[in-house]
Amino acid sequence: MNRRYDVVVIGGGPAGLGAALAALDAGTESVLVVEREPEAGGILRQCIHSGFGLHHFKEELTGPEYAERFVQKAIDRDIDVVPNAYVTGLALDSDDTRLVRVLSERDGLSTIECSSVVLAMGCRERTRGAIRIPGSRPAGVLTAGLAQKMVNMMGYLPGRRIAILGSGDIGLIMARRLVLEGCDVVGVFEILPYSNGLTRNVVQCLDDYGIPLHLSTTVAEIHGRDRVEAITVAPVGADLQPDMSKAWRETCDTLLLSIGLIPENELSQSIGANLDLVTGGPIVSSSMETSLPGVFACGNVLHVHDLVDFVTEEALRAGRFAGQWARGVRRPPDTVSLVPGRNVRYSVPHTLSPDRPHTIYLRCKERMQPCVLRVGDLINKKLSFVVPAEMIRLKIRPSLLDNFYGDRLTIDIDPRD
């Protein structure tokens, strides 16, 4: 590890590695990736199922394989990756210099100078506290991602008889994984009337194994003094409150939570980056630059993705612009703000520039089918259906913006017959 780099990337998962490679491709000479785990690769290392890479590599890979391709490229390109390292602080020193304080086992606490920074810290899982499940507090209540790490990397089972709250993809994937390891999965309970994970995961992770998916149902209470002994589950009404008159008890020793992911932006907040209250991630321009000059963001720290391929796509863009920044390229500010309208929960990036093509990621608020996606008067795209669990990706050609002179484009999703 040197004292100065062109670009420092915080986080060595697919977002960070993609950004680091793109920064090199943009002509920078030195890139440092700060990774908190003992090796780069990120959470993909524990996502041993397949389904990754169809867009980016045009083939279906497992998580570890997808990660390894990027790790190998980073090695081939001589990118410095400092493992077991943690960024304790970040400061903007001058227009050209950012200071990154890195704590690592190998080098202690050191300050690295760089021109630009890419935030790629990923996300964390929502916990029991976030949804306030009443009852006791025994061992055996854990997030699906923690269980995934225990099973796939450590070789331990979180329990024998498993209930899963929330139908996020990690929960669905873990249901199948635990059945293959000989556990009983008593059911997946989802408070919404539809699954929060990809349909294909409902099919191949639950249906294939006869695991029931209870929609519009939640865990109303946790029982057990030392270890989970049972849960009370109940259907919910339109107000999402449990109807205790229809509650029932499920015996289990483990409750996995797959109830959503939250971008990890404590560091971004500490340096004053403006956050989008809906995504939980920084507000970014079309060059993936945050409100702080020279600080870029991509991947799950920006907004939670369903597909790593789109993380990579976003990371390549962030890395390219971070690299250009380090080489002294300054772009004029974007001129068009992109505003979520009817049935659009959020869209990223937050602003556009008419001079180049854009890829926009967005999510709807609620399921709608069939429907039409509109971007101002510029785009009118028919979609067969939209669901909140599946991110929508939209390409905007520069020619589309040629005759647009406004400063604001609203995205709407409306029903159609």
């Binding site: 397949s50 497992t62 450590m154 294909r200 099919v203 191949q204």
Partner: protein, 125 residues
């Protein structure tokens, strides 16, 4: 003869197209609802010989982690998944292992279905 329709959800990619397969007894007439060729292929396969792939882990000695993720080179018949998993769980490995290395050939004595390492694991120094 009467034409029947069987519905599937395509699992070939994250889009998850709803598929309808029309057939007369065992003869497939048409697949509808797919956005690409993989959907049609999936529905036909699912109707005649449903297969699934899966990943699991085996213990590995001398590496950074205690488990090595492995996958199948080709899917196995759907009704033999648990049997396949149990067979794989009898394996173990020792570092170094290279990503893509074949750990077991012809799983369940089916030609061409291999168990493959999903990542490289180097020996610990």
């Amino acid at each position: 003869m009467a034409t029947e329709t069987t519905s599937y959800t395509c699992i070939s990619c994250p889009i998850g197209c709803p598929l309808q397969l029309e057939h007369e007894v065992d003869t497939i007439r048409e697949v509808a609802g797919n956005n690409c060729d993989r959907g049609a292929k999936y529905a036909r396969q699912e109707f005649t010989d449903p297969r699934r792939s899966f990943s699991t882990t085996i213990p590995i000695a001398g590496a950074l982690h205690r488990r090595l993720p492995v996958r199948l080179s080709e899917p196995v018949p759907k009704d033999r998944i648990l049997e396949a998993a149990q067979r794989i769980h009898l394996l173990s490995a020792e570092a170094p292992i290279r990503c893509g290395e074949v750990l077991l050939r012809d799983l369940l004595s089916i030609d061409g279905i291999d168990v493959v390492a999903c990542r490289t694991m180097l020996p610990l120094e």
